[in-house]
């Protein structure tokens, strides 16, 4: 895989990619959008491991409201891919029980906004089972859930609750930004023996989104990372990706915001280093630290609300480790601390203008 980066690649990027991705260069690739890549990851894992099962509301015959599980039931059978009752605490609780038996469940929560009823099973159970049973029982489950806004979904189809889970010890949090990464990361998450939340930025299911809602939408067919190996490969959890190497400042982002940042940086003509975190827990601290020490500036961008968001953690950690290298205060660009609105969606969304203003601020004395 030689040309998977979203923007200008760099040697560092390619090397990091090669190191963290375990597929052969010679693999045949095919064009996939993010949904197809996610579907392919589950399909391959179900082929390789009879203990992998897929469950959730509408995921069976219908193939999911976003079609992410389309065809899986027909191929792998109803006892391995099935619809569930509409009870998120039930879905996760049952997945924990199946995991205790020895299965490797991949439950879907239809929208991340509906994960809250499952909080107790996720936080008190899945995340704590290994610890409290001294490893007798574990929760090798991967919870997939579409998250984030930009689709006029109103307050219950738009939220980004990742910060709730990164705060809870014992659970991993993964957020892909491209079809290529989605597939490799999902395979790694499914193989991982700890519970993992896999949040899928639904705004970029069909194509990268640069944050300009009034421009024609893109699809993945022309994007380098829309070329996805058809077979098995994985991207190690806990490894960030430098999507654009640069010297002027470091931008930490994940999911949809990686693409928005990339577009803004290109437009502003700033030599930013953009890091796609890909995994929030565990965090790739080496890549972050090396970059910020090199650039001396750090901007953090996420769509989630600001207060106690994951950006707060990133800001603290960068400050702790890179304080003497910083030439400007760390900038956080986030969604506002309000519920996700319906009609004023684009005033809420941390788009090009908000990022652009923050860029000006952080680069003021450069």
């Amino acid at each position: 895989m030689s040309d998977v980066t979203a923007t200008r690649g760099s040697d560092a990027t390619e090397a990091a990619e090669a190191a963290s991705s375990s597929h052969a260069d010679t693999e045949p690739t095919t064009r996939m959008n993010m949904i197809q890549a996610i579907n392919s990851a589950m399909d391959i894992m179900m082929e390789r491991d009879p203990d992998v099962i897929v469950m959730g509301e509408d995921v069976g015959y219908f193939g999911g409201v976003f079609r992410a599980t389309a065809g899986l039931q027909a191929k792998h059978g109803k006892t391995r891919v099935f619809d569930t009752p509409i009870t998120e605490c039930g879905i996760i609780g049952v997945a924990v029980g199946m995991g205790a038996y020895g299965l490797r469940p991949v439950p879907e929560i239809q929208f991340a906004d509906y994960i809250y009823p499952a909080l107790d099973q996720l936080v008190s159970e899945a995340a704590r089972l290994r610890y409290r049973s001294a490893g007798e029982f574990t929760s090798p489950i991967t919870v997939r859930s579409p998250f984030g806004g930009g689709i006029f979904g109103g307050q219950t189809h738009s939220q980004s609750p990742e910060g709730l889970f990164t705060h809870m010890s014992g659970i991993k949090t993964v957020i892909p930004s491209t079809p290529y990464d989605a597939k490799g990361l999902l395979i790694a998450a499914i193989e991982d023996n700890d519970p993992t939340l896999f949040f899928e930025p639904k705004r970029i299911y069909n194509g990268p989104f640069d944050g300009y809602w009034d421009r024609p939408s893109q699809n993945w067919s022309k994007h380098p990372a829309g070329a996805v190996p058809t077979g098995y490969y994985k991207i190690e959890l806990g490894k960030a990706k430098i999507v654009r190497a640069g010297e002027a400042l470091t931008i930490l982002a994940y999911g949809t915001m990686v693409h928005v940042c990339t577009a803004v940086v290109a437009e502003a003509g700033i030599d930013a280093e953009i890091i796609d975190l890909r995994t929030l827990v565990p965090l790739d601290i080496e890549t972050i630290e090396a970059s910020v020490k090199k650039t001396g500036r750090c901007m953090i961008v996420h769509e989630a609300t600001r207060t106690s968001g994951f950006g707060a953690e990133l800001s603290a950690i960068v400050q702790e480790r890179c304080f003497y290298h910083l030439e400007a205060p760390i900038e956080r660009v986030t969604g506002f601390d309000t519920p996700y609105p319906h009609s004023l969606e684009w005033a809420y969304f941390p788009g090009p203008v908000r990022i652009g203003e923050a860029l000006k601020k952080i680069m003021k004395d450069a």
Binding site: I86, E88, T338, H342
Partner: protein, 431 residues
């Protein structure tokens, strides 16, 4: 400690996992012969003072009033005046016309989302007529019929659907997630079944205060799986809360048939039995049966007999929402084959059978209602449609997070206004 070895268990029968499967999938011919439809008038009507445990059978049959010939029969006939029945018919027809037009508005790009109640109009409309206007409703997203039956302004509803400048919810909520306190209509949540325990809480408060008002709540059959459903029933039975639980069993929950909520094993009304709550299973396409059941349950609640759970057996004749294509997962033959018919036609046939209505008046009414909805739409669109200029003032984005804005939200609001003046961008999509 070791696990039992595999040997001693080798003779045992292997377990199998049961996965429910609906009778019909796309392309299948539909025959609902297996759906048990008892004759109208057959179910008994207990006294409202009877103990719940004395009429458990009513959770497993169907309370039906209207028979196939349009007659109202049996002990549940609410004996409504023709005038009330004509008003009920009109409300159902208005709801259908409203749904039709707003569904189309979404298709025309005027808003982001819409959900119809096609085929289940009787459930909300007849209940609204049986309840007092002062009783508090905690609906799901498919009971817009409550507002329509309570005479709420269509223009006001449309303003919400369009998230326009006159939207009483300030563009903050997804279309159709109304909130109309004045009409006893609680703010609809996008998260399923959260309204169930809330209705119980409202009812408990009313009882604790010595009030006379009761609460009613609705959820779909799929939503009965949520934990909130079961919490609500537990509280209600413990405190004998004056609340009516309605389960709208329209057979489908998006693409999942009712079997994924437990319908292969028992009825939804039977959920009441385990909690010691009064349970009724009702023909949901029979407006008179819905009215009678609601009236009976309300009487129980008002006389401190506690909660009643009513399963309305009906059919979701349209897709789940504008985002759904039911052709992907169910047979197109289902809606027309549904054995309980069309609720509007059934009440209309009854009124005709008793000489209180006729086809010409019905056709004229349909025309009039279509015009009424069209006029309302025109009026509402003067206030804007989603994403086409007329929207709420930007700073209103921060209203209502708290009663008073803390410093950090004030800062963020200023930041947003600065962004707008820096960019000169109007924050909505272009036409």
């Amino acid at each position: 400690m070791t696990m039992a070895s595999e040997h001693p268990r080798a003779n045992l029968q292997p377990l199998t996992l049961h996965i429910p499967e609906p009778k019909f999938r796309p392309g299948d011919a539909v025959d609902f012969a297996e759906v048990d439809v008892p004759p109208a008038g057959e179910a008994r009507r207990p006294d409202t003072a009877d103990k719940a445990s004395d009429f458990i059978d009513l959770a497993y049959t169907l309370v039906r009033v209207l028979d196939d010939d349009g007659n109202a029969v049996g002990p549940w006939d609410p004996k409504l005046s023709p005038d009330v029945m004509r008003r009920m018919l009109r409300s159902m027809a208005l709801l259908r016309a409203f749904d039709e037009r707003m569904f189309r508005a979404q298709r025309q790009g005027k808003t982001s989302f819409y959900m119809k109640a096609l085929g289940e109009e009787a459930v909300a409309v007849a209940a609204a007529y049986a309840l007092d206007y002062e009783d508090m409703c905690f609906p799901s997203y498919r009971q817009q019929g409550l507002l329509i039956a309570r005479g709420w302004s269509l223009v006001d509803m449309m303003n919400q659907i369009y998230s326009n400048t006159a939207d009483r919810l300030g563009g903050k909520q997804l279309p159709i997630m109304y909130s109309v306190k004045e009409a006893g209509f609680f703010s609809i949540s996008g998260n399923l079944t959260t309204q169930y325990p809330q209705a119980v809480g409202w009812a408990m408060a009313s009882a604790a205060k010595g009030d006379t008002r009761i609460a009613a709540t609705w959820c779909g059959e799929g939503s009965t799986a949520e934990g909130d459903f079961h919490s609500a029933l537990t509280f209600a039975t413990v405190y004998r809360a004056p609340v009516i639980f309605n389960i709208v069993n329209n057979q489908w929950a998006i693409s999942s048939f009712s079997g994924f909520a437990g319908a292969e094993a028992t009825t939804f009304a039977a959920r009441a039995v385990g909690y010691g709550i009064a349970g009724l299973r009702v023909d949901g396409n029979d407006a008179l049966a819905v009215y009678a059941a609601t009236e009976w349950a309300a009487e129980r609640a008002r006389t401190n007999q506690g909660p009643t759970l009513i399963e309305h057996f009906t059919y979701r004749a349209e897709g789940h929402s504008t985002s759904d294509d039911p052709g992907q997962y169910r047979s197109e033959g289902e809606p027309n084959a549904w054995p309980l018919g069309d609720p509007i036609k059934r009440l209309k046939d009854h009124l005709i059978a008793i000489g209180e209505w006729d086809d010409d008046r019905h056709a004229a009414q349909d025309k009039e209602l279509a015009e009424q909805v069209k006029a309302a739409q025109k009026e509402a669109e003067k206030n804007g449609i989603l994403g086409h200029g007329l929207h709420q003032p930007l700073e209103s984005l921060f209203d209502g997070v708290f009663e008073e804005l803390p410093w950090h939200l004030k800062e963020q609001r200023q930041q947003m206004l600065d962004e707008e003046s820096a960019s000169g961008r109007p924050w909505d999509i272009k036409a």
